[in-house]
Symmetry: C2
Subunit: 213 residues, 2 copies
Amino acid sequence: MSSFPQTSNNTITRLPKRGEYDRDAIYAILDEALVCTVAFVRDNLPVQIPTGFCRMGDKLYIHGSVGSGYMRALAEHSVNVCLSVTHVDGLVLARSAFHHSMNYRSAVIFGKTSRVTDEDELYKALEAFTNKVQPGRWDDVRQPDKGEWKATMVLSISIDDASGKVRTGPPKDDEEDYSLDTWAGVVPLKLQRQTPIPDELLKNGVELPQYLK
Amino acid sequence: MSSFPQTSNNTITRLPKRGEYDRDAIYAILDEALVCTVAFVRDNLPVQIPTGFCRMGDKLYIHGSVGSGYMRALAEHSVNVCLSVTHVDGLVLARSAFHHSMNYRSAVIFGKTSRVTDEDELYKALEAFTNKVQPGRWDDVRQPDKGEWKATMVLSISIDDASGKVRTGPPKDDEEDYSLDTWAGVVPLKLQRQTPIPDELLKNGVELPQYLK
């Protein structure tokens, strides 16, 4: 296990005990997230875009249309970005309003963009995007043809600086509040899959694949 | 119903049919989200912070400790921020890798920060934060005392520019792919509450309140 060095940029200053710098722990938070937000500076102003992403090794990848304005802006140079993901794991209901909180796992990454032009890396990224939406999916679908390749822009983002922040467990109340008649505890939250809805145009006889059961 | 004017800043250029500028629709996307990310510029570089938030009327609110570095940075002047929320509603599994997608509802807001000093607005914001975590909660808990008030910084964010982006419905495949033997459809996702976990230190005899049943 390795850790990201703590710099003035990534160090959690508020509630530092919630800070997480271990690489594997941060990668696990990233890998579980379906979407991230990518922030960058445009005309000296902050902008952010919610988007799908994936990780391969020590790089993050986003993709979009070659016609997308922000993708083109991010592809132009090595652009500084800040990327984050957050999982909300529970509502933390304390006895006092002040100590209400949420259980969560978040990761914030600082890095630079780079357009992926190497065909092998590009292809692997497309496979990773598809299998991130649904593990096992890539081998089951029609893979991209030349025209689709050319319509898709893939950017890699270096992970220069990273930090995670995690809260777990019950509420923490002030000593004198534990005697109050107020219910306190955690309401866990989970992003759960519902029953798959087949496309109305699904070809007759095509069954739900094993990986979706 | 009113709409946000479309400017070069907020107009959805990629897949414009997914763009949403109606105020009520965007506010509904915001109100359902427990956390947002707030992006700002620090030393010419993009930074973003995941945080809880709430909306009252045409303003968004975030809060944190008066000791928080980024809260203090955002409180110093009227700072330009970009705030976003995203709900992932489903995995869209098409017959081709290229048309894989997600169903989602996102909102991106451009505005400026302002420190809330008016006591009435501050108090209402704290109530709104608590009731956002759990509707009905505020009336059931010990409300903030003077010391807690002073430890909490609340910032309002004006909603100067806003846009939403929404995808719903089944996959869209290329005409020739509909004859493939590949399963296609949507796997809906829902952030679902699990059974509440009472605090181990809960006072004897305190029952789960009605609003949590």
